[in-house]
Structures are given as C-alpha cells and as structure tokens.
Symmetry: C2
Subunit: 281 residues, 2 copies
C-alpha cells in the first residue's frame, strides 16, 4: 500500500517522521478519516472541509487548496486500488526547534484496510459506559485520544463497545462517535455543543424528516436515562443501536425500531450518494 | 548529537518513527525531561521514578529496569559530551494495527541543547494569564499539550510567559510548571491535586523550613488574588517570580522577597546535590 507524505507517494513501510515532530512530542496534530467504496471516497468534500476547519483553528497551515488535496486523495486511491478501505489525512505540528512551538506541518495521507463491524453489532446492539470528561478543542478532530484509550480496560470489563462522555450533567459524544436519543414521543435529539461535528451525524440530521423529527439541543443525563432508544453514528459504524448504558437498558435490550429504520434510511442515502458520485468529478 | 531509539544509539538526524505510532496518531505517549550539568543528569532518579509511574498508569511497559534505563542515559551523556543540555525520555503507544489499540511501545531518549532563561525573567518577574482547563491523567507526564500550544497567541497578546490552569475555582498548574503562592502571613501553599508532581516542586517542598512553611492544599482563585507573592517552578525554570496574573499585580510589580530567598535556597540545594553526585555512582 502506498501513502503520501510531504509531497511524495511512498510505500507505507518506508514512511517515517523525525522524532522532533510536535504531534509525537506534544500531541499537536489533527486528522480526518473517511471510507472508500469501489474506489469512491465517501462524503469526501465534507471531510476535507472539516480537515480545513481543524487546520484553521489549530493554526496549522495546509500547503494545498481543497481541490488539490482532493486530487491527491483520488490519485492515492487509484494507485492503491484497494476497494474496502479508509483514507486518513494527518497534519502535525512539524519539526519544532524548541519541542513546543509549531513549525512547518507534516502532511501524511494513508489508505488502510478497514473491516466492517460484525453483523451482531447491528442485530444485538451494543453496551456503553459513561465517563465525565470534556475533549480539548471539541470541534476540531485532534489526535487527542488519551482518555479514551486509557479507559480501554474499564470498557472491556463492562463488556461495552465504547465510552460516552458527559460534562456538567450534559452528554456530549463517544471517543469516535456521536450519540442520538429517541424520546418517548419518537422525537430524536443529539447534543448540539462541545462535540466533534460528525459527517454521519450531519447526514442523519439532513435525512428527510417525514417519519422522524431530529433536533440538536442540550441532552442531559436525565434525558438519556428516560430515552426510549439510543444510537451512535460514525464513519465506520454508520448507525449502531445501543441497548445498555451503565445499568440502564434501552428498548427492552434489543435494537429499537426507530434506530433500525434510520439505519436503513441512512444506507439508502449512502447508496444514492455513491450512485450520484460514481464517476470521479 | 546522538540519541537512543529502540535499542540503538543513532544520530538524531537519522532517528525516525513509522507513521502508525500511536503517539502520532492518537496522542498516546508519555515522557520525562531533566537537565544535564557538567555531564551529570540532575535529580535523575526522581525523573526515572516518575517515568516509570507514568508508564504503569498508561499501561505502556518499559523494556528496562530503572537501573538499566539510567545506565542508557549515562551512556548517551558520555557519548554526546554536551554540557548544557536536557535529556528527554519518550515512550509511545507503538505501531498500532487498528490505529487505536496500544502495541509494543517505542522508546526514544534524546539529548538536546537547552538555553537558560533570560536573566530579566528573574530580575523582573513574569506575567501569566488564566484559563479554565483540566489536563487529562494529570499525575502522568503525557505528551498532551494541545490546549497550551493552542493558547500561544492569547499568551503572547497578553505579554505573558505562560497560562495558569484552574478547574472549578481551584488553580492547578501551568503548561509545564507548578505554582506556589506566598500568603500575607508568609506561609506558602501549592495545589495538592490534579497536577503533575514536579521534581522541582518536590525539592521546594523538602527544603528545610527554617524560614518558611510550605504546604500542599487546595488553592482557590480567591486565595490566588489575595496572595502577596506568586512563583512558578520547573526543571528548566527553577524558581521564577510572577508579578502579574490577568489583571492582578503581585508584590508591587517586582519579584517578591520570599520568592527570591527560595530561588537562592533552591540553587544552593542544587549545587550541593551536584557536588554529592559528582561521580557517577
């Protein structure tokens, strides 16, 4: 598999960064990630837009226009011809003189195999645990996953898939997913603030609301406990039903009907998008 | 300059890590840093102890005993023979298969030139700004400096040296320093919890308290505003007087007498330590 690193396409085994890079020394880096299906990068413009927003907020300049970056992604996809895969865009703080001040950023684009989630995840739903934590620069897709990775043992012990963060009584997001709750009246809510604005989340919010009404708002821990159904969304997971959070069981311990309907609606939307974007623009 | 990377001493220009390292991709890494004076690593055992504690908490195993790691440090110092310098120990999450789960850690030891702080810092004192923030895994010296680096523009605009973090009305620490306040009755307090236990902080706490009484406790923003003097401590800074925090001026806008006495006492302590450890054990 090839990757792109600072202006060159090289084999991923040869791709290296020096040990003065600020993402390595000080966790100063951003990234983005999207799926590739039949050599088409899914929702690529949304991801490139977000990558540029992350770059602006962290003041890590990108040496390409959005169009040029997209062309590099398409070139890499053509080069690798690896059908079921993901593309990772990584931008780091660069080689810092004083090991603290950002320098000229390093840009790395990798394509990596992905494995689809086990079918049981969709059939049976998943469990989550909660943890009080607020991610730094939440609207930025930073490389900061320390707390989530550190919680791995606790997540495993609870037979959970992941951890849901909350802060001051309000739920926010998971390590790599957004969360939605379906209320008793079938209205759907997702946290509005202190989160990474996920692309799948955005697509769910934009689905035609004939059947369901989805709104962004404050979601309290109490709202969460009283919810009828819960589901999470991400680029890799699409829409995953949640059946348990800490000690609370949702929708009788099996995936909820609203959740499953939305998963179906989202997959139809994705397929339509793929058909519409089947030819490289 | 040479460094040590995964079992080998190589030139720092040749030292590289692969792009699947988890410190790079997910900010999962720890480090430590200490000064070298006349080829003697200052308070090296304290730093190695802390590095091992960080390694235990983050479950990143070190492939050496403390004694063996210290021998590697001494070997590197002898090899480089760079008198005024710092040693950085870095341990990362390793090359992760799924870009999320820690693998076999990468260990890097670098020796780097340091420049002493400008004399004006001690003569005139420094300004700080405050920011509400709690560092993740605060007792661990992680590579997580995102918020501090992101605040650089704000720090610069305020003509400040650094940022003091507080959480729920309690002050904690700076990006790379601990903080002490001298109260009106000359008692000295430093935050006890949610901080990195600094080695200079530990040494200040252990100085013979004939003249001053130092205690670890809760320090509120109100305690801070009412303080007579403020100073910060770190491996590179030793004891630096603070004369302004946000809009509050301390000790008439010049370094306080208690602070300067403690700086002198600390430097005497350091010199005694160096004399006592002048021969490699």
């Amino acid at each position: 598999m090839h990757c792109f690193i600072n202006g060159q396409f090289v084999s991923i085994q040869e791709a290296r960064l020096g040990i003065r890079d600020l993402a390595l020394l000080r966790g100063y880096g951003i990234f983005d990630f999207f799926r590739v299906k039949d050599n088409i990068p899914l929702f690529v413009d949304d991801h490139i837009d977000r990558f540029f927003r992350s770059s602006e907020i962290t003041r890590l300049p990108l040496p390409y226009t959005k169009r040029a970056l997209k062309d590099l992604v398409l070139e890499l996809i053509e080069l690798n011809n690896a059908h079921r895969s993901g593309i990772r865009l990584l931008l780091t703080g660069g080689y810092s003189e004083d090991a603290y001040t950002p320098a000229s950023p390093n840009l790395v684009i990798t394509q990596e195999p992905i494995k689809p989630l086990d079918a049981s995840v969709y059939q049976n739903g998943v469990a989550l645990i909660t943890h009080e934590f607020q991610r730094e620069l939440p609207t930025v897709k930073t490389t900061g996953y320390l707390t989530g990775i550190w919680l791995a043992d606790k997540i495993k012990a609870a037979k959970a898939m992941d951890v849901l963060y909350y802060t001051q009584g309000h739920i926010t997001e998971l390590t790599r997913s957004n969360i939605f709750i379906v209320q008793q009246d079938n209205t759907i809510k997702t946290p509005a603030a202190n989160i990474l604005p996920g692309v799948t989340r955005k697509n769910i919010l934009a689905l035609p609301g004939e059947k369901f009404k989805v709104e962004e708002s404050v979601v309290t821990l109490d709202d969460l406990r009283k919810a009828k159904e819960v589901f999470i969304t991400s680029t890799l997971k699409k829409v995953v039903p949640v059946i348990k959070i800490d000690e609370t069981i949702y929708s009788g311990g099996k995936p909820g009907t609203v959740t499953l309907a939305l998963l179906e609606q989202f997959e139809a939307f994705e397929n339509t998008w793929l058909t519409d974007h089947g030819v490289n623009p």
